[in-house]
């Protein structure tokens, strides 16, 4: 089923949906929303679509989704025949995926806000959100270290799931807020693994893996 994404190019949450769609090879329509400097997400027209005034918004027929993690779930449920991105058959794995979807929301309000503050002078208390973001990165590093010790690479199971995609943007973009990845080796290797997935797309702040470019040195 085709859909329309209301999108802002610098939003990590909008990028989640673009990335998931790219990895699944799904085509869709995009409507640009001038989040900044236009504050179009606060306009009457946009608030009629999404009263919460948040981005992204996904519209498929009569269905309007305004929560990023719900969009990932819907995309995987409707566009992935392999069932690997959303492991509904295994209760433990499914619960773990849901756990990470919750964590991804935390990241939006810590690392995501710290980034908006650092980049666009968003009116939040910079040191507070940055400290919260650092704590979330440390917790994430510990969880990924567990996976490394178990011989795993992804957050849940032996294939990437929507959990990896949900957490990826704001972890990857934390240097935008001055939170570098140098002290987090497990995070660095996980980020690299996500970036190396076939069909991966970038956003500003997340660079293309030029080492994988076959057309180089032509």
């Amino acid at each position: 089923m085709s859909f329309t994404l209301y999108n802002y190019v610098l939003s990590g949450n909008c990028y989640k949906i673009r990335l998931m769609a790219a990895l699944l090879g799904v085509k869709y329509d995009v409507v640009g929303v001038d989040f900044y400097p236009g504050y179009e997400h606060r306009s009457e027209a946009f608030l009629r679509l999404n009263p919460a005034g948040t981005l992204p918004v996904l519209q498929a027929g009569d269905m309007v989704l305004t929560e990023t993690q719900a969009m990932l779930t819907w995309l995987a449920a409707t566009h992935d025949d392999t069932g690997r991105w959303l492991p509904t058959q295994n209760a433990t794995d499914m619960a773990r995926v849901c756990e990470w979807l919750g964590f991804a929301n935390r990241l939006t309000s810590s690392a995501g806000l710290a980034r908006l503050h650092s980049m666009l002078d968003w009116p939040v208390d910079g040191p507070t959100v940055k400290a919260a973001a650092l704590r979330d990165l440390q917790a994430f590093e510990l969880a990924l270290t567990d996976r490394v010790l178990e011989g795993g690479q992804w957050l849940v199971g032996d294939h990437p799931t929507i959990a990896d995609i949900a957490c990826f943007p704001y972890v990857a973009l934390s240097p935008d807020a001055g939170l570098e990845h140098d002290g987090f080796p497990a995070i660095r290797n996980w980020l690299y693994a996500v970036r190396a997935l076939p069909g991966f797309i970038t956003m500003p702040g997340i660079h293309y893996l030029h080492e994988l470019n076959e057309a180089a040195n032509g």
Binding site: Q138, L142, T145, D146, V148, L149, E150, E180, D182, G183, F184, P185, A186, R188, N189, Y192, H207, L209, H210, E211, A216, N217
Partner: protein, 219 residues
């Protein structure tokens, strides 16, 4: 020459790049497609971009900014803006000594050809994880004896720099980055079960928090 432990062999695979700090020198450490390591000044001589953001193509490290390639000897080998140009010998990065001992990557801010000395490490250990704390090495050392392992059991200092956490033996290898930041590489006895490794990994985070609290309170 004093050497600095900057990461674990396990955490830097072929074709991968990382940033390292060694005695106040900002370095890039990278491994080529054949597994060879190199440590350089973390700065592209062209426009000053940190090479730790770069990418590996075969035997060369390329800068992310303009794609300039540098060979294993630090010599510029290719300038994409001028594909026909033979880069002059003056375009060269400073190269440093690097080696791998006990699953840990060690660098020294000295000529790449010089042998570097690494401290003796007790046999039978293997790397667990690296953490970075906003604390001095002294605070890490103090906190390591005051951070309970299970329940209220405190670690005990043993011979050869080992630390006993109940049944398990670990070693902490520190690299103080600046006055308030230290990298700690934690090794554990190779026979440790997965459940013990996970428990010690959590203890590492408790150690970091304790050392950071100690540092904040003394500030």
């Amino acid at each position: 020459m004093t050497s600095y432990p900057v990461g674990l062999t396990r955490d830097l695979a072929e074709n991968r790049v990382m940033r390292a700090q060694a005695g106040g020198v900002d370095m890039v450490v990278w491994r080529n497609s054949k597994g060879a390591l190199a440590a350089w000044n973390n700065r592209c001589p062209h426009r000053g971009m940190r090479l730790s953001h770069g990418f590996v193509r075969g035997d060369r490290l390329a800068c992310l900014y303009h794609g300039w390639h540098y060979g294993q000897n630090g010599q510029c080998a290719y300038v994409p803006a001028h594909p026909e140009l033979d880069p002059p010998a003056s375009i060269k990065t400073q190269t440093y000594a690097v080696s791998e001992v006990a699953g840990v990557i060690w660098v020294a801010p000295t000529d790449a050809q010089e042998a570097i000395e690494t401290p003796a490490i007790a046999a039978g250990l293997e790397p667990l994880r690296s953490i970075t704390a906003s604390a001095s090495e002294a605070a890490i050392t103090t906190a390591s004896l005051q951070t309970a392992f299970s329940g209220s059991d405190l670690p005990q200092a043993g011979a050869n720099g080992l630390l006993h956490l109940g049944e398990r033996q670990i070693a902490l290898i520190c690299n103080q980055i600046d006055a308030t930041s230290t990298q700690v590489h934690v090794l554990i006895d190779a026979s440790a079960a997965l459940s013990d490794r996970r428990a010690v990994s959590r203890w590492c985070d408790a150690l970091r928090r304790a050392a950071e609290t100690m540092t904040e309170e003394s500030a």
